[in-house]
């Protein structure tokens, strides 16, 4: 590889924020984010994030140029199907992309992640580590595998607290009991000494949330927080997350494939496809005036609980792309029913950029906005 791997650079380079280095090879020119080295005003700002994993079969471009902002007290929902890069995004922000799922070679990460005025990708890894758990925390999908099976719940929460607070074990334990109580675990002073396997699925997820929130983080990333849970328990957990956000005022990113969960929690929605953002905007806009054919596909594929719908679903044809061979041009073009609408061969050759289509509403599609609005209102919406 001719270009230095950004992770390596981050480890040896100066801690001060700096302009991103030359982009990785194989990027489409013009896709380089505007070289914004200035600290942004948003609480969290991600600029042109790329997370690529070298494998024997080729470069897996899990996240390929993602940008968004998030303010404190607001919730961003990242929606996508498996392999869309939504989980890798969160790991990239948290600095956890070293996870060994793609074998022995290190992930290549580039772009900028600004948290409260601090750039994380070029910062000293040790400093980023200290931010982890304290300023940004994560809730994972499967609490049974995300909690250590050999340690008690209490011990794991105490550990999370004591990394960042210089307190004795007794104080930390008191704090752990307090947090378990706050997330609604009955008899927290007893359950604090239970092992994860002694909890039910819902209780485990509550414990996981208690552990994430023990340091009052300002950014909480919840990766499929309710996917492994039953629907009645899911309702409890969604409620809990919402209440806790109000109480703590943190910024929350919810990553999910479930449009229902997103509609419940998110203020803004970011739709990912093939490692890229295809549409981003306020929740209501994305649900009621979606501006990308993939978003239409998601909405059309989804059976509705709130309607007696005897019509057939409108699925998206084909399967999601391989992240090694992301189609040229628009990643969605092989599955898009409107790929031939724009003139010429643009959908297959030119990667569409994310362009504003309304207030805080962006979409990456070659079709003219009027055309999209027409298709949505006349062809798609009536069938949903």
């Amino acid at each position: 590889m001719s270009n230095p791997d950004k992770t390596g650079a981050a480890q040896s380079g100066p801690a001060a924020p700096e302009a991103p280095e030359a982009p990785l090879s194989g990027l489409v020119p013009g896709e380089v984010a505007e070289a914004g080295s200035a600290a942004p005003s948003a609480f969290l700002e991600v600029r042109d994030l790329r997370v690529h994993f070298p494998t024997d079969d080729g470069l897996v471009k899990s996240v390929d140029g993602l940008s968004f902002q998030l303010e404190k007290g607001r919730t961003l929902g990242i929606v996508g199907e498996s392999g869309s890069g939504k989980s890798v995004t969160s790991l990239g922000i948290m600095g956890l992309h070293t996870a060994g799922q793609y074998g022995r070679r290190k992930a290549r990460i580039s772009g900028e992640v600004w948290l409260d005025g601090k750039e994380l990708l070029t910062a000293d890894p040790d400093e980023v580590r200290r931010l982890g758990g304290r300023y940004m925390a994560m809730i994972f999908q499967d609490p049974l595998s995300a909690l250590h099976p050999y340690y008690t719940i209490g011990r794991q929460i105490v550990e999370a607290y004591r990394v960042h607070h210089d307190v004795d074990k007794k104080t930390a334990r008191k704090r752990a009991v307090e947090m378990l109580d706050r997330v609604g675990i009955p008899q927290p002073d007893k359950r604090v000494d239970s092992y994860p396997h002694e909890f039910s699925g819902g209780m485990r997820q509550r414990a996981m949330i208690a552990m994430s929130l023990v340091n009052n983080p300002e950014l909480l990333i919840a990766d499929e927080p309710t996917t492994a849970l039953d629907v009645t328990v899911q309702a409890q957990i969604l409620d809990l997350i919402r209440d806790l956000q109000k109480e703590f005022g943190s910024a929350v990113i919810v990553i999910t494939h479930d449009l229902g969960v997103v509609a419940e929690l998110a203020d803004d929605i970011l739709v990912m496809y093939g490692g890229r953002c295809v549409e981003r905007g306020p929740a209501e806009k994305v649900f009621y005036e979606p501006q990308h054919p993939y978003t239409w596909g998601l909405l059309g594929s989804m059976p509705r609980i709130d309607r007696d719908q005897t019509e057939r679903l409108i699925p998206v044809k084909g399967s999601p792309p391989s992240l090694i061979n992301i189609p040229d041009g628009c990643a969605f073009n092989p599955r898009c029913p409107y790929a031939d609408v724009p003139d010429g061969d643009r959908t297959r050759t030119v990667r569409p950029e994310l362009r504003p289509v309304g207030e805080r509403h962006f979409s990456a599609c070659h079709m003219a906005q009027e055309e999209r609005t027409r298709i949505w209102t006349e062809e798609i919406a009536p069938k949903l």
Binding site: Q187, S200, V231, H257, G260
Partner: protein, 388 residues
């Protein structure tokens, strides 16, 4: 039950034709029970049982889709394995086309396997990775010793085409296909022998939303085309609403409500059904503020090893009374086409109006035999409108 066994051993299942009398139900299930024993102690005595399925009675009518919903541990998957006779029932009776198949052995079931097929949840583990698609889909022909007209290969290719796969992929292996395509392979295999009844256990829950819709539509088309009868087991209430004609709601091994789709979703009668439906997040941000309808059940489903006395839902039910703790409500028809097992149903007349006032929440929880430990202190109450 011993009678049933004796009969079933003597009855020879005729070749898919002329049942003694044409039954109005394709599948008839009566008092179906499955307990998995638990052994403990020095002598490994049977100390209890997981009451996975505990007395189910329902019919499946020809050509309909019966949806079965419930949370994990409610026994819906066990039920699926019982009616396809992959498991031996502990008690009760299963009749298929008028024949008692409750205790048929593997050999006696073989001719019936043509008519009853199953589709599994996980498209990754339910296909043998070392076999080609052709081998997998043609397996039922080999097992039944059938040579279809035009040869096995041609028939398999037609099946592949029927489920929307490229027939030229006959010689490929499962790992060359995506999850959705694998589920199609599983469906092709299930349909090979032109079954009458297909039991699908979570057929789409492992799939992505856009693929899920493809498979749901495929199941729909196949039903129209081949006149199939489905029993679809799923935890996703939206999917169930979309695919089912009638729906059975299960809780802790029992059916609590059995009704046609429209009435179940529009006016659920069992409190559990109501809570379950209200818990589903609605994909509509404008309705987020409208949370007054939501009923938040507290706590978890109790253990099926020692389920609560009386009505099994009483430990989490906001309408529970003393009667509910003591007496199990029978599954009875409260309206046309609606069976409900509740003393104090919603959207219908109270079945026990003279009952003492609802037990206080604390009391209900305190006396609840909640072996899970979490049931204790989980005061069941409606939290509608809470958390504003």
């Amino acid at each position: 039950m011993s009678d049933a066994r004796a009969v079933s051993e003597n009855v020879k299942i005729p070749e898919q034709s002329s049942p003694p009398e044409p039954p109005d139900a394709l599948l008839k299930v009566e008092g179906l029970v499955k307990h998995f024993p638990i052994r403990k102690g020095l002598l490994r005595r049977e100390t209890g049982a997981v009451q996975a399925v505990d007395g189910l009675t329902f019919d499946v009518r020809p050509g309909e889709t019966l949806g079965v919903v419930g949370e994990s541990g409610c026994g819906k998957s066990t039920m699926g394995r019982l009616i396809t006779r992959l498991l031996e029932p502990t008690g009760g009776k299963i009749e298929f086309q008028g024949h008692d198949i409750t205790h048929l052995g593997v050999g006696a079931m073989r001719p019936l396997r043509r008519d009853v097929q199953m589709i599994f949840q996980d498209p990754y583990s339910s296909l043998n990775p070392r076999h080609t698609i052709g081998t997998i889909v043609s397996a039922p022909f080999r097992l039944q010793g059938i040579t279809p007209e035009g040869g096995v290969k041609k028939e398999v290719q037609q099946l592949l085409e029927l489920v929307g796969l490229n027939p030229e992929h006959y010689n490929r292996y499962p790992h060359e296909f995506s999850g959705g395509q694998r589920q199609r392979i599983g469906i092709a295999r299930a349909l090979a022998l032109k079954p009458k009844l297909v039991v699908a256990d979570e057929p789409v829950s492992a799939l992505d939303v856009s693929i899920q819709a493809q498979v749901v539509n495929l199941l729909d088309d196949l039903q129209d085309e081949l006149g199939l009868t489905y029993v679809i087991i799923a935890h996703d209430l939206s999917v169930i609403r979309h695919v089912s004609d009638r729906i059975a709601v299960m809780y802790l091994g029992k059916i609590v409500e059995l009704a046609d789709r429209a009435s179940l979703y529009e006016s659920p009668m069992h409190p559990y059904t109501k809570a379950l439906l209200s818990a589903v997040p609605i994909p509509d941000p404008r309705r987020r503020g409208v949370r007054s309808e939501r009923i938040l059940l507290t706590g978890d489903v109790p253990s099926p090893i020692s389920p609560p006395s009386g009505c099994r839902f009483h430990t989490r039910c906001w309408k529970a009374t003393e009667l509910c703790k003591e007496q199990e409500p029978p599954l009875i028809a409260l309206a046309a086409g609606r069976q409900v097992a509740c003393h104090h149903p919603e959207n219908a007349a109270d079945q026990a109006p003279g009952d003492p006032a609802p037990a206080s929440a604390g009391e209900a929880a305190g006396s609840a035999p909640g072996p899970s430990g979490e049931a204790a202190g989980s005061a069941p109450e409606s939290e509608g409108g809470a958390g504003k």
